[in-house]
């Protein structure tokens, strides 16, 4: 009898230690936001202003030590060309690291494609970067707690703890994650956390000559980004995934995904 009791106690103790109760609790992010009212980083992209020069992509890669020659990038610029026949053609050669300098649209294995000027109805550029979602799908699926959200809403990757399983890359609906070719761990845009947390600007926003990119504090009513989000018609990418992005776009339309 004594032995049985001992076993029972051991079992209870062990299960109690190994599976903490918090594992079963899905925390409401709204509650969390309310708990930290002072700072929440947000980003504003004005697609009308973007000219597709790609300075942001280059600056980002240099600032964050992503090798220029590696075909992955933390931020990129897409080109959208719409034709009179109702077709939408998109391209993004090498993330627009060298900007858009040709009328030829890069369709990868299908080759280059030229759309005659008279066929074009509208055409524009859309910069993309990590949306630093309020309920990030990538963080939810990390099996080891190597990627996480900071108190001010930035999603980071712990390079010393990441096992490189790629689940977060699969889980991100926006394709912003990749394996760093040298560090060999998952990597993504950090909103230049090292710069913004010291009062600086992100490398991409600073490099943009046209003010198409802006970072700001969504909790500060006097912040230009917060104001724009409040007063203008802005949209976010793929709200259907329920990830609640914090990168807002001016001039978004249905074709942008």
């Amino acid at each position: 009898m004594k032995r049985r009791d001992f076993l029972k106690n051991t079992a209870v103790f062990v299960s109690g230690v190994s599976i903490s109760l918090s594992a079963l609790e899905f925390i409401d992010p709204k509650e969390l936001l309310a708990a930290n009212p002072k700072l929440r980083w947000g980003f504003l992209v004005n697609t009308y202003k973007c000219v597709g020069c790609g300075f942001c992509v280059k600056a980002c890669k240099i600032e964050n030590d992503i090798p220029l020659e590696a075909h992955v990038t933390r931020t990129w610029v897409e080109r959208y060309v719409m034709t009179k026949s109702g077709e939408t053609i998109r391209d993004c050669p090498n993330g627009a690291l060298a900007g858009y300098t040709s009328k030829l649209l890069d369709e990868n294995a299908s080759g280059m494609r030229l759309v005659p000027d008279e066929e074009i109805t509208q055409a524009f550029f859309v910069p993309k970067l990590c949306n630093q979602c309020s309920t990030p799908a990538c963080v939810q699926v990390c099996p080891v707690g190597a990627t996480y959200q900071t108190g001010d809403g930035v999603v980071l990757v712990d390079r010393k703890w990441c096992i490189g399983c790629g689940y977060c890359i699969m889980g991100c609906p926006y394709g912003v994650r990749f394996f760093h070719p040298i560090e060999r761990v998952a990597d993504k845009c950090t909103f230049c956390y090292h710069r913004i947390s010291k009062g600086g600007n992100t490398a991409c926003a600073q490099a943009c000559p046209f003010g198409a990119r802006q970072i700001g504090n969504l909790r500060d009513p006097n912040d230009p980004v917060a104001k724009a989000v409040m007063n203008e018609r802005v949209g976010v990418l793929r709200s259907e995934y329920g990830t609640k992005p914090n990168v807002y776009y001016i001039g978004l339309n249905e074709e942008v995904r």
Binding site: S18, I19, A23, L24, F26, K58, P67, L68, E69, A70, H71, V72, T73, W76, I89, R90, D91, C92, N94, G95, L97, A98, E107, N108, A109, S110, K128, A137, Q140, V141, C142, P143, V144, G145, A146, W161, C162, I163, G164, C165, G166, Y167, I169, M170, G171, C172, P173, Y174, G175, V176, R177, F178, F179, P181, R184, V185, Y241, G242, R257
Partner: protein, 434 residues
């Protein structure tokens, strides 16, 4: 400063060909090893379920294959982990899954479910074979002169017997009870082990092809199917080898005879057992196959009927790009053909093995079409990615995640099984067990 044009191959680039509009960071990140992973886990779970059919539900007809299936399931266990380790970018940190599990992730369950499952299978084997352990132990101890190999064997038996040498009727009865209990617990755990492998895919909301609640169930059914099929094939082949080896006296092919003496093997008896077990098991294969195919077809029909936004690109992938892989290789060769072969009257061992081989291929193609097919299109629904399996490796990456890495994963369980068979003879017949 001019941009460098030198190449630096990032993970996934070596085997991905992009077509039309694909985001710059999109590659086929989950490649052949992630196809192997649910496949191998499925084999483990399926083999275990087969053995449990006998132990729990007393399906007497499966008696001989059940014991074999149990040991083979144990040999497959470490291999289920192998593809994951080969796939990780930081394999040495794999232990983090056990150290800081983040339970909102399906993968984090792996460490715990897998360990639980391993313990259950290990314990079940211990109870099934305890009598044999003790008998062998006593036999070896009684020997006045022991070879080096026999001494090693004795040492192993001493350790794994855990000092429990009681062979009284009562003790043996207790063993049987424990086996039944463990096999009973084992079935849900095996289903969970594999169901959660399905959950890993089914819960990725970013992937239009993967996200369906049916995924775990489909995975469980096809797991049982592939597990049973592999047991039929390997059982028939091993028995064939044993018959051949027993006739010719090639005892190195009979690991249990190496360890325990020639008397363990009898040719005529082997033949009748083989044919009976294989044809019986084939019946169970049919039942689970029907279930698996029904669910898979339901999934495709449902997607086509509801036709939400992603259907346009999924239709392109399913009916055009992957048509041969899905409808010819998976459903035609892998499901329909073996179905007909198994249903034709007068089933022979040879035909059952052929059908099982096709089934194994079919389930492999199903895993392939899910894992690779799910990455065959861009997140923007506007482009495609074609996967090219690296055949000749030119660096460690293309070895690990190429044909050779996959073959390594496939062959390992048989190597393990060979050595395991010396200690735990899977083909041992024991008339008074149960």
């Amino acid at each position: 400063m001019v941009e460098q044009v030198a190449q630096m191959v990032v993970h996934g680039e070596a085997w991905t060909i992009k077509d039309l509009f694909v985001l710059p960071n999109e590659y086929v990140y989950w490649s052949i090893q992630i196809v192997m992973y649910p496949y191998m886990t499925g084999l483990v779970a399926g083999a275990f379920v087969l053995s449990s059919l006998y132990h729990v539900f007393n399906v007497e007809k499966l008696k001989e294959i059940a014991r074999y299936a149990l040991v083979f399931s144990f040999a497959l266990l470490p291999v289920a982990m192998m593809p994951l380790m080969l796939h990780l970018q930081q394999p040495l940190r794999g232990i983090h899954v056990m150290m800081t599990p983040h339970f909102t992730s399906a993968i984090s369950a792996f460490g715990i479910v897998f360990m639980t499952y391993a313990c259950i299978v290990g314990a079940e084997i211990w109870f099934v074979y305890r009598k044999f352990f003790v008998e062998s132990l006593l036999r070896l101890e009684a020997k006045s002169e022991r070879s080096g190999f026999e001494s090693l064997l004795l040492l192993i038996y001493r350790v794994i017997a855990l000092g429990a040498r009681d062979l009284s009727h009562k003790a043996i009865e207790a063993d049987h009870k424990a086996v039944k209990l463990l096999a009973g617990i084992g079935i849900p755990v095996a289903c969970f082990l594999h169901g959660y492998a399905g959950f890993i895919f089914g819960s990725v909301k970013a992937n239009a092809l993967w996200m369906t609640p049916l995924m775990p169930v489909i995975f469980i059914c096809s797991a049982v199917v592939s597990g049973i099929a592999l047991c039929i094939i390997s059982y028939a082949i091993f028995m064939e080898i044993r018959k051949w080896a027993a006739r010719r006296g090639k005892s190195f092919l009979l690991p249990d005879a190496v360890a325990h003496g020639e008397h363990a093997v009898d040719v005529d008896h082997l033949r009748s057992v083989q044919s009976h077990e294989v044809t019986m098991t084939a019946k169970y294969l049919l039942i689970f196959m029907t279930l698996a195919i029904t669910l898979e077809l339901l999934d495709i029909i449902f997607r086509g009927y509801t036709a939400v936004k992603s259907w346009d690109i999924l239709r392109d992938v399913i009916y055009e790009h992957d048509f041969v892989k899905i409808f010819i290789m998976q459903y035609g060769i892998g499901n329909l053909l073996p179905f007909v072969i198994l249903l034709l009257p007068g089933l022979t061992v040879r035909r059952a093995v052929l059908a099982s081989l096709l089934v194994l291929f079919g389930v492999f193609m199903m895993r392939w079409n899910v894992v690779i097919g799910g990455q065959a299109f861009s997140l923007t629904f506007d482009g495609f990615m074609h996967y090219h399996l690296p055949i000749i490796p030119h660096d460690i990456e293309t070895f690990k995640e190429g044909l050779l890495g996959a073959l390594m994963v496939i062959t390992t369980p048989f190597v393990i099984f060979y050595f395991l068979n010396m200690i735990i003879p899977a083909f041992m017949e024991d008339r008074d067990t149960h």
